[in-house]
Subunit: 218 residues, 2 copies
């Protein structure tokens, strides 16, 4: 028979999946606001961030309670500590989505992304969103192999970011300094969202397989 | 008489101070490489980052060992969990210093920062370095008040970043897209270093006073 403690651990895992879903929505809506110059959508991302922060606090409190009262060891201890670190990363991903939405909002009624950069930025955004979606599945199914797929997606992200840099530093660039700065920062934000996704996936893989994640994962 | 467990806890606190010092050196040398266009100094920051990563792993392993074997409760449990989260932040601060050094290296023999922006960027860098220095003292002396001072320094950082943005988006800007992008990213990197310093200081204040840090601290 399952005990309350096992249920509580499962509850935390389930909460991490929920938090992942909230972050995926934030990334997706931030991109929508960015590519459509949609101020309402941007406001929604900005105001919904409080929900992500609350989820974080909730998971933190419950994890800490279990750590205090149950003296978990081995795998359970690792899981709870990983949960505490993952919620910080999810919260950052939420903040990065807010940064994207704020750039979108700042440029309304214009669109921050010049037309010729639209394919690159929208591909970066799509990769970020897919990566967050995979993290959700990886946590729910404790899928250590999924982490490797994320590393591949992350490589494509890095390539796109380099390509966007080449475009804006090209002597043909005719969209001015403001658009160039927007693109550079947007590239950075999507890249960081992807980095956090990889980092979370590595933490899950470590929990499942016991293999240490690489030192560059935080 | 002090026992081995208390000594181990103290050892971890001491290691956090050491890690903080390594990060301060990284920030300081990255700035030096940036403002002087010094490629050797930049290489030094980039190669020394491995030492920061190793320190992180070492603190992680020792904290985890104590958590596993000693079942710490209350304050000690909080301290060890805070240590695990602080090392992630210190590692990120090291990475951000590497990003600064890489921009410096990319522009050698030129200097990435145009002369008129030099005062702003060098002030941002100085604030970041002072903040990391204060974190060191805050951890060593468990100084909850120090955290408040850091918040003030962080406000000046935000103001400087906004001022650098105004400069580069000004119609008088004559340094081109590349320099504008460099300045935007450098501003972001120093701002993030400062954010992490504030976050670490808040964690220490929380350990000392028991007051919850604000939800935006990660």
């Amino acid at each position: 028979m399952r005990d309350a403690y096992a249920d509580q651990l499962d509850g935390i895992r389930q909460d991490l999946v929920t938090m992942s879903r909230l972050v995926r929505t934030a990334v997706s809506q931030a991109t929508e606001s960015l590519l459509n110059g949609d101020a309402n959508r941007a406001e929604q991302v900005i105001s919904s961030d409080a929900e992500i922060d609350r989820k974080r606090e909730e998971i933190e409190e419950r994890s800490f309670e279990l750590l205090s009262l149950q003296n978990p060891v081995a795998g359970d201890l690792r899981m709870l500590i990983a949960a505490l670190r993952m919620v910080s990363e999810f919260e950052r991903m939420g903040d990065l989505s807010v940064h994207v939405a704020k750039i979108a909002r700042l440029r309304v009624p214009e669109i921050a992304v010049p037309e010729e950069l639209e394919p690159t930025i929208s591909r970066m955004a799509a990769i970020a969103e897919v990566m967050v979606g995979k993290v959700e599945v990886i946590i729910a199914e404790r899928d250590a192999d999924g982490a490797r797929q994320l590393e591949e997606a992350d490589e494509e992200m890095d390539k796109l970011r380099r390509s966007s840099f080449r475009d804006l530093l090209d002597s043909d660039w005719k969209h001015g300094v403001e658009a160039a700065v927007d693109i550079a920062l947007l590239g950075r934000y999507y890249e960081r969202i992807a980095d956090h996704a990889v980092s979370i996936a590595r933490r899950v893989a470590f929990l499942v397989t016991g293999d240490m994640p690489s030192p560059s994962d935080a």
